[in-house]
């Protein structure tokens, strides 16, 4: 294999390819600024993200980032350890690339009348670049910069429908809460730096393990609390979840899909990396007096309960999906709540599996909303009544997404929740496991309500035939096929996730 001769920075290729494609889009746009060649632009975006996906999968299969003791090529440090490419990084780069490709294909139809096509697609790719770098960032500096690279284009993307009041309002709220939380996040970084004298994750851990952290007392704990605030914003969990319903509802639906799947996964990967690498549970607990998993136990229960109960009361489909996305962030937070001094591989791996499955089923669900907006059928459950007769393929895919999100066996969403449940029990979090079961049962109510609306209810008004936009249909069908294909493929995905979690916690 020629892979060994490649320099270390090439292991960041999945992220670099996304950045390169964004630059290619700029070139295309500067050659013919007035042309509205949406096929070329969407195609380039999809090709770039598929290339990124292919390279990431290839690296993962070739053993890049797998520890040498497990027969891999070793974890690779790039740029003086500012970035690290391991299984965790590649796993999340795959999620980001998949979601970006689906969103690009779906946007071909959804954004076809938009004036600023090239800007739209390059912003998507730049945000995806930031998310991909977040997966590999290994110091608080690169984490913060990658996080901002993901956030700034996202603010612009949410408010890209410039004459649409909902889009501007969603973008404004996303930006205001984002700016506040990034200020809190960077202040938390400065406090952690003050307590330990380092920004590199391993060096922070080394200082904490040596018991030399925090000569003043309190700074480290406060800093960690503020870092949790930053992660909560990016993953749309309590207490910084207020932006999510507004931004997802106001944004163009493909962007809602992008933010709720890829951006959430990227937020979780930095949370996983920072808390497993920089703040070892036992030593940090003795330094600050509290076990940080306690914060995540509370946040997980509150987030999933709030998200699901709010989703159950919604009348607007997109808003229901937005709240359900908050609920799913609560499920994934169990992955951090279950980490303990000697274990937690299963529960963290389960959270990664959940984010992977979620990348398909939730993107697909939001893309169905995009399709409904493209048809112009309206936004509430009643407006969706009887769509199954007009568009059986898309509505069948919707049923798959909904049942997988609810966690009906044997779909992928069931298996990741099952592993989260057993992992939580193994970690002794009986209350969290009970909250997971109760919330999943509740979520079945509002997910099946949507399926019932499209398949069983009579339409409120008689409709003419609905068009079949190629891009949106292709993206929805691919997402549905992948959600089903995860049944036989769930074994390898689960193994990779648990391996990555084990390597992180070792």
């Amino acid at each position: 294999m020629a892979l060994l001769e490649l320099p270390a920075w090439t292991t960041l290729a999945p992220a670099l390819l996304l950045a390169l494609t964004a630059l290619v889009l700029f070139i295309i746009d500067s050659i013919s600024p007035d042309a509205q060649n949406s096929g070329l632009l969407a195609g380039t975006t999809a090709a770039g993200s598929l290339a990124s996906l292919g390279v990431a999968v290839w690296y993962l299969l070739a053993g890049v980032g797998t520890p040498t003791v497990d027969g891999g090529r070793g974890i690779i440090d790039v740029l003086g350890d500012q970035f690290v490419v391991d299984q965790l990084a590649l796993f999340f780069m795959i999620i980001v690339a998949v979601v970006t490709a689906l969103v690009a294909v779906a946007s071909y139809d959804y954004m076809e009348d938009h004036t600023y096509q090239a800007e739209y697609y390059s912003l998507v790719l730049l945000a995806a670049t930031g998310m991909s770098f977040m997966a590999a960032a290994n110091s608080l500096v690169t984490i913060f910069i990658a996080l901002e690279l993901a956030s700034l284009p996202s603010y612009a993307l949410v408010s890209i429908l410039k004459d649409n009041r909902g889009s501007v309002e969603g973008g404004l709220k996303y930006f205001l809460i984002g700016a506040l939380s990034s200020a809190i996040f960077v202040y938390g970084i400065s406090l952690v730096y003050g307590a330990t004298g380092h920004l590199q994750l391993e060096n922070i851990a080394a200082v904490i393990e040596a018991g030399e952290a925090d000569p003043y007392g309190g700074l480290l704990g406060l800093g960690i609390l503020m870092l949790i605030g930053g992660f909560a914003f990016k993953t749309a969990s309590v207490p910084f979840h207020f932006w999510a319903p507004e931004a997802y509802e106001g944004a163009p639906a493909p962007i809602s899909a992008f933010l709720s799947s890829a951006s959430k996964a990227a937020g979780f990967v930095i949370a996983f990396r920072v808390f497993t690498e920089a703040f070892p549970v036992a030593e940090t607990a003795s330094a600050i007096g509290v076990d940080w998993t306690l914060a995540f136990i509370i946040l997980a229960i509150v987030t999933m309960t709030l998200g699901n109960f709010a989703a159950a009361t919604q009348n607007n489909v997109k808003r229901m999906l937005a709240y359900s996305s908050i609920g799913h962030a609560g499920y994934a937070l169990i992955g951090l709540a279950g980490i303990s001094a000697g274990g937690g591989e299963l529960v963290m791996g389960a959270a990664m599996m959940h984010l992977f499955v979620y990348g398909f089923m939730n993107t697909g669900a939001f893309l169905f909303v995009a399709l409904a907006e493209y048809w112009g059928v309206g936004r509430t459950f009643e407006d969706y009544n009887g769509l199954g007769r007009r568009a059986p393929v898309a509505c069948f895919a919707l049923a798959i997404f909904m049942f997988s999100l609810a966690g009906i066996p044997p779909l992928g969403g069931f298996w990741s929740k099952y592993f989260l449940f057993t992992g939580a029990l193994e970690a002794g979090l009986i209350v969290v496991a009970a909250a997971l079961v109760i919330n999943s049962a509740l979520s079945l109510y509002y997910y099946s309500r949507l399926v019932k609306a499209v398949w069983i209810e009579e339409p409120v008004t008689e409709r003419d035939g609905l068009s079949q936009p190629v891009g949106l249909y292709a993206a929805i069908v691919v997402a549905a096929v992948m959600t089903l294909a995860l049944l036989p493929l769930f074994g390898p995905v689960a193994d990779t996730a648990v391996d990555a979690a084990t390597a992180m916690l070792a």
């Binding site: 608080l140 500096v141 913060f144 910069i145 901002e148 700034l152 603010y155 612009a156 408010s159 410039k162 004459d163 009041r165 909902g166 501007v168 309002e169 969603g170 973008g171 404004l172 709220k173 930006f175 205001l176 700016a179 506040l180 990034s182 200020a183 809190i184 960077v186 202040y187 970084i189 400065s190 406090l191 730096y193 003050g194 004298g197 380092h198 920004l199 003043y216 700074l219 319903p245 507004e246 509802e249 106001g250 709010a310 919604q314 808003r319």
Partner: protein, 101 residues
């Protein structure tokens, strides 16, 4: 007398609290942006003071990055506030309420 690192931390915490107070009380989107800038600069004071205290440069370098990112954030934010004004004829953040739940 010498100025110890704890004085810098007190200053930065005061600045952070002023910024947070501004965010919680001001309704003008531009004042909101200025308050966020105060909070970011509070973090910069911390980073530079701690870089001096610990005797390494990574905090100072990170402060430079933070300033650049703050500028980029303001650029995007002003764009969104401009859109806000065009659509709602106001920069009051409590005016856009088309999606209240």
């Amino acid at each position: 007398m010498t100025v110890g690192v704890e004085h810098y931390v007190l200053l930065s915490m005061a600045l952070f609290a002023i910024g947070l107070f501004g965010i919680l009380t001001r309704r003008n989107a531009l004042m909101f942006l200025m308050s966020v800038e105060l909070m970011l600069n509070a973090a910069n004071i911390n980073l530079i003071a701690f870089a001096f205290y610990h005797g390494n440069l990574s905090g100072q370098v990170f402060a430079l990055f933070t300033m650049a990112l703050a500028a980029a954030e303001v650029a995007v934010g002003l764009g969104i506030i401009l859109l806000l004004y065009r659509n709602f004829r106001d920069v009051d953040v409590t005016v856009p309420t088309t999606m209240r739940w």
